[in-house]
Symmetry: C2
Subunit: 232 residues, 2 copies
């Protein structure tokens, strides 16, 4: 009997509570969609969900906890769990840690940055205001005076302001989130060569040039990074 | 006594298991970093973690379940939970559902698409091969023959191929993930105006033109979308 049991546990894989939570998570998502839940709507009680699904409350709690972590639902005093406007970048943020991301993904993300900065000219020119350009110029001028040891901080402040000018919150949060990775990739570079076009030059183009000129300026500014890509 | 209890429960907010799972999740992340866990390393057993943290196994299981959902750990037969190469886009994917994303975020994501496609010329020109261009041309030619009802499918196939040519897996997966949203935004547009530059024209530029020409071509191709942004 005990021999048979040990054979069985070799041959039959245990249905783990994780697998059950996966199933419950999917079932709950389908339910929320089918019933057209809107932000603010209250979910049925944990015990009711457990009964309807025929699983333990622990498993329902586990699945709800995942949806909560993704920002899809939240606890409200007296109302229980309610549907929220999901935070599409919140979950992404939790796994973006340069220490645990492999090299090829880091490289991918760095290229994503280059792509975004080359591509943002059109939206920048639609949204930029005189005040934005003034603030950007102040950042670029401060930087010229500061010592070279603050180079990464300067990069972050200047490019961060560009993302902010697009007025696109998702883009802006995306950039804030990717910053540790940009910093990490930058420290991996042996020689930090600057492009011929400086931050002050870019400000000047934003003031007096058109978006094609800005795109060409940004290409020159990022040239050392593109050169490295071409050598690979 | 029962009155006191009811007063207490009004004044003191209950420490929910969700809050506990948040704490345990953070504590586990710190532990994995401090101990420099590498992909493939096995985590301590659930019961050991529960003891060390002084919490119930259910709470540890809930926190582990979240890390598992984010693709940071996975169950391995006989080895228990092990650290994995995290899937940085996996979690993001789970909340990207046009039905539950609010309008302003949908708009942000659509602009993100425009930015990526305007910005990808440099990487496209570094990575493109003759075979890629041949495949892209086949897609554009098929499309000319097909009926207009397949317009969205054609868009997706052609632009998807462009992302694929960048050779950047993160960018490619990102695009696949954002597709439902692009589709959704497109269906919201009342009149679907095409840019003057067609997919076939873009292929022609990739064959005979330089990256500046491609960028200008893409700008023309996406012009109806940028026009809409400018009017807002």
């Amino acid at each position: 009997m005990s021999l048979l049991q040990s054979d069985l546990s070799k041959d039959l894989e245990r249905i783990s509570t994780n697998t059950m939570a996966d199933l419950v998570e999917i079932r709950l998502r389908e339910y929320l969609k089918k019933k057209s839940f809107l932000p603010g709507d209250a979910l049925p009680k944990e015990v009711e969900l457990a009964e309807a699904l025929g699983v333990s409350r622990n498993i329902v709690r586990e699945a709800l906890s995942r949806l909560r972590m993704l920002g899809m639902i939240e606890s409200r005093k007296k109302r229980g769990m309610v549907l929220t406007r999901p935070d599409i970048l919140g979950a992404f943020e939790r796994v973006l840690d340069p220490l645990i991301i492999d090299k090829s993904t880091l490289q991918d993300i760095f290229e994503l940055r280059l792509t975004l900065e080359m591509g943002m000219a059109d939206i920048l020119y639609i949204r930029k205001t005189a005040k934005d350009i003034e603030e950007l110029e102040a950042i670029a001028k401060r930087e010229v005076k500061s010592s070279t040891s603050f180079r990464i901080e300067n990069e972050i402040e200047f490019h961060g302001k560009l993302y902010a000018i697009t007025g696109n919150d998702t883009l802006k949060r995306f950039q804030i989130m990717l910053l540790p990775i940009f910093g990490y990739v930058t420290t991996l570079e042996k020689e930090q060569v600057k492009g011929k076009i400086t931050h002050l030059d870019l400000v000047d183009i934003l003031k007096h040039g058109d978006k094609e000129a800005f795109r060409n300026g940004m290409r020159e500014h990022l040239a050392p990074h593109f050169d490295r890509l071409e050598k690979k």
